[in-house]
């Protein structure tokens, strides 16, 4: 019995293959010059062919979503993220200076090699 993951993988391949085939057929209908032309086919130029404007909006996203959801997990970084201590850090030095102008407190800038929110730093 095939696993759910395997079934979805096969479906994805079939769907992608269909779209590729449609693209090849559309290309052969448009003619040799149009095959190498990346600009959308104008309805006025080729009134019988529908402009390929829905490809990135309607066709690709569902396929991408299936593949993304069912793909293997990305291997975690060798230097995982951690909390940078209990200090309430501003996002950057400029923000700290702006806050300092309001609060009257001096700025403390901590510089380091590596990143404070990485395990190895």
């Amino acid at each position: 019995m095939w696993s759910r993951k395997r079934i979805l993988g096969v479906i994805s391949i079939v769907v992608i293959g269909s779209f590729l085939l449609m693209g090849v057929i559309a290309g052969s209908v448009m003619g040799d010059d149009a095959k190498f032309d990346n600009t959308p086919v104008s309805v006025v130029k080729n009134p019988g062919i529908r402009a390929d404007v829905g490809k990135t909006v309607a066709i690709e996203p569902p396929t991408k979503a299936i593949v993304a959801a069912k793909s293997a997990t990305v291997i975690e970084s060798q230097n995982p993220k951690v909390m940078p201590g209990k200090v309430k850090w501003h996002s950057n030095f400029s923000d700290a200076c702006a806050a300092s102008k309001k609060s009257g407190k001096p700025v403390l800038l901590f510089q380091m090699m590596g990143k404070l929110d990485n395990q190895f730093c």
Partner: protein
């Protein structure tokens, strides 16, 4: 980690507007022993803590690693310094700061110990505390003179926690020694640098600080480790070419 300590974090959150930044990636060494055991360490990383005005001008710097106690003590001094330099007015800030660094450099050179900012002076004739106490930079007596006094408190760097584990104690001693060097040798170099630089923003001072004081040249791709890595290594030339 220093910033996970409650007292250090609280002091920073209360006294400062804090921010952190990375000056470059830290070298990471990973040794895979091939039996499932993997050791990962950073190499030659270094840190610096700046206190700055709201305009982003550097007032003082702590470079290198510190014991939590000494770090905390210095943070409090830094907070006082921010008030001290503006006592005569913001237009005199540069002058006050230069004078501060001159006094500190001299104190460290002659006494081996930094001067301290003290304040809260009362108007004795009226027994009234001045709303914004005047801060004064006081030179402390040299260590030799203090030895004879009873009840003399050890400096924060010398106070050791109660550690029973020999490894923890050994690590503590290394940290304490690093702190001592940073508080004497490096702080003196920092005061000399800031005395000459005047009021500057951190980006103007970062490279000289790391190169000349922390001995970690940020422009060196091997961070000073090239000699160690490539000396007597038979494939050094190939390595360098491929990198």
């Amino acid at each position: 980690m220093l910033f996970s300590k409650e007292d250090v974090a609280q002091a920073i959150n209360t006294l400062f507007e804090p921010a952190w930044e990375s000056v470059r990636a830290v070298p990471i060494v990973k040794i895979d022993f091939g039996n499932g055991k993997v050791v990962t360490r950073t190499l030659n990383g270094n840190i610096a803590t700046y206190v700055c005005t709201p305009e982003g001008e550097v007032l003082d710097i702590m470079a290198g690693i510190y014991t939590p106690a000494q770090y905390l003590a210095n943070l409090r001094e830094f907070n006082l310094l921010a008030r001290y330099v503006d006592q005569q007015g913001k237009d005199k800030r540069g002058e006050s700061l230069k004078s501060y660094h001159e006094v500190q450099e001299k104190a460290l050179k002659e006494n081996g110990q930094a001067a301290r900012l003290v304040g809260g002076f009362r108007d004795m004739s009226k027994m009234k505390v001045i709303e914004k106490p005047l801060l004064v930079l006081l030179r402390v007596p040299p260590p030799a003179a203090a030895q004879g006094r009873q009840g003399e408190k050890a400096s924060p760097a010398e106070e050791s926690p109660n550690l029973e584990n020999p490894d923890d104690l050994a690590n503590w001693k290394v940290l304490a020694e690093d702190t001592r060097v940073n508080e004497t040798v490096r702080r003196r170099e920092i005061h000399a640098l800031l005395k000459e630089s005047g009021l500057v923003h951190p980006e103007k001072i970062t490279k000289p600080l790391y190169k000349d004081i922390l001995h970690a040249d940020l422009d060196d791709p091997y961070l000073g480790l090239g000699e160690t890595l490539f000396a007597n290594y038979p494939f050094a030339k190939e390595d360098r070419r491929s990198n």
